[in-house]
């Protein structure tokens, strides 16, 4: 049988035009998203005080971030609050999802709906209601109140992620563990939790990110000592744009990219 080389198929010209058009559109969208960030990072190295003309390369603004005590303090606050929020949201969300999944009770559906409300409720409303609530029970504002506020709106994200995973999980897995001699606590810890890990990691990253850049709820629930980075930056930007903010934002961009890369790496590990 004579071998015939398959002719390379060329798409008709109309299709090629469409492909070009779509490619161009995609490039435009990406440019729209990322150009401001590129400009922002570039100007963090600009010697000029103004974000308009390029006057030469400098690390001056990074030094000024480093020298800005209140700003660093705010960053530390943010980190502490985001970490505490993440831990609490993961524990609450995971246990909540498991209880709602494992035990059928009459109020189950209503609790699910109630838990989802903080996700859609306007933040300003949450901020005010939390402030009123803390004032009523005369709880002084500080780290505690900020963390409570952050956990309130971030744990539903963990709950929903874990619930979705639980629904796809074979109920026989837990029974198999019990059958092999694991107590219910061991079965939960050694089998259920590892099976839920991808959802827990996703939920934790979500909670951390939400807490890290939260502004409105924090505005109502923080005192001066527990002011977070977004709150401090917001205060600084009100006075006027400043290359220090550019430098700070550039640091943020790199940190976020690192976090996203880490999340992708964890996801690959789980596959």
């Amino acid at each position: 049988m004579p071998s015939t080389a398959a002719p390379r198929l060329r798409p008709p010209s109309g299709l090629r035009l469409l492909q070009f058009g779509l490619g161009g559109w995609t490039a435009l969208v990406l440019l729209f998203f990322y150009l401001p960030i590129v400009v922002l990072v570039a100007y963090s190295f600009n010697a000029s005080r103004l974000n308009v003309v390029w006057e030469g390369f400098t690390f001056e603004w990074y030094r000024s971030v480093w020298a800005n005590g209140p700003l660093l303090q705010a960053a530390r606050n943010s980190l502490v609050i985001a970490c505490a929020t993440t831990v609490l949201a993961v524990v609450l969300g995971t246990l909540g999802a498991w209880l709602l999944h494992r035990y059928r009770f009459r109020a189950g559906r209503s609790i699910e709906t109630l838990a989802a409300i903080p996700m859609v409720m306007p933040e300003i409303l949450m901020g005010i209601s939390l402030l009123v609530f803390f004032a009523t029970i005369s709880l002084p504002l500080g780290f505690g109140t900020v963390i409570i506020g952050h956990v309130t709106f971030s744990f539903p994200f963990v709950l929903i992620a874990v619930q979705a995973r639980l629904r796809g999980l074979d109920p026989a897995l837990e029974e198999a563990a019990l059958d092999l001699g694991a107590t219910p606590a061991q079965a939960f810890w050694l089998v259920t939790i590892p099976c839920l890990r991808p959802a827990i990691v996703a939920g934790a990253l979500m909670a951390f990110t939400l807490s890290w850049d939260e502004l409105i709820v924090t505005f109502f629930t923080a005192d001066a000592a527990s002011a977070t980075l977004p709150l401090r930056v917001f205060g600084m930007a009100k006075v006027g744009l400043n290359p220090t903010l550019n430098a700070l934002s550039a640091i943020f961009v790199v940190a976020t990219a690192a976090l996203v890369a880490f999340a992708a790496y964890v996801r690959r590990l789980n596959r």
């Binding site: 074979d170 026989a172 897995l173 029974e175 198999a176 563990a177 019990l178 059958d179 092999l180 001699g181 694991a182 107590t183 061991q186 050694l190 089998v191 590892p194 099976c195 890990r197």
Partner: protein, 360 residues
Amino acid sequence: MSARVELRNVTKTFGTVDAVRDVSLEIAAGEFLTLLGPSGCGKTTLLRIIAGFEQPSSGSVWLGGVEVTHLPPYRRPVNQVFQSYALFPHLTVAENVGFGLRMQRVPAAEAAERVREALELVSLTGLDARSPDQLSGGQKQRVALARAIVCRPQVLLLDEPLSALDAKLRHAMQLELKRLQRQLGLTFVFVTHDQEEALTMSDRIAIVNRGRIEQLGTAHEIYHQPATPFAAAFVGEANLLEAELLELDALNAQVCVKGGLRLVLPATAWPEGAKTALVSIRPEKIHVARQPVVAANTFEARVEDEVFKGATDHLLLATAAGTRLSAVVANESALGEIFHAGDRVFCGLHADDLVVLRAE
């Protein structure tokens, strides 16, 4: 060490539904017992009651002479092979098999040795480090089996473990399970809806229907002496015919079945004092020929339909009186008798091959 399993008057109610109704069952140590029935008949609930996943609403469960009714699953010397296999996805094959030993705090060196032995027993050496999602269906099945037997349970429970395998593999696994059971001398309680599986492997079969055990016996007994119409129809094929008593003497009972066919059967088989009963005739017990045959019951019939199935030929017969019967004839040789729709044939049926079923 295998143990005797005993269920005493076990009833299980879910809401208003009786999944299991007053079941008493004794399974001997080292026996291969199959719970056979259609889906939703309560066979899986029975297994879950033995495993400890369900508490009976009333009645008691005994293992090796010890009552375990209220013992949680992790304190019972029983292990189960799940229908979905339920392998832990985050653990390797060896870690899956070793899970039970880890729970029992067996020393690491001994555990590793026992895991190796168990994997060897199910012919799965060399796959220790694989993760479950890298295994084929048949391999997963073997891992689930190894994981259950490595703990040396007194009873092994199997919940339709072969239903996800293709026909060839299923057949091979049936024989292997049977071999394994003999080799280990373990008590096996096997749940299935597949009658062929039950007939192939079991020492005894319990036919479960609507939460009750309809018949308990060897494959032979169940097939040749079905106790109820359900048992007769569920295992193998059967012509179930309503019969009316015409004449009864010391030796024979003469009956007239639905459609008008008259048949003779041993007087002892007929239930005392009954006017009517249900008669079961296995299709392969009807001898079909071109020439008249010699038997206690002979009749002529017309072939209404014929289906060729390779080893056998399935015929639908109608007698002159109008009784319809299905019959199976073996295709012994290519030159043998071949029947076609429309043929007139002679049929013979031995009196002993008629089974009278208990009136409902």
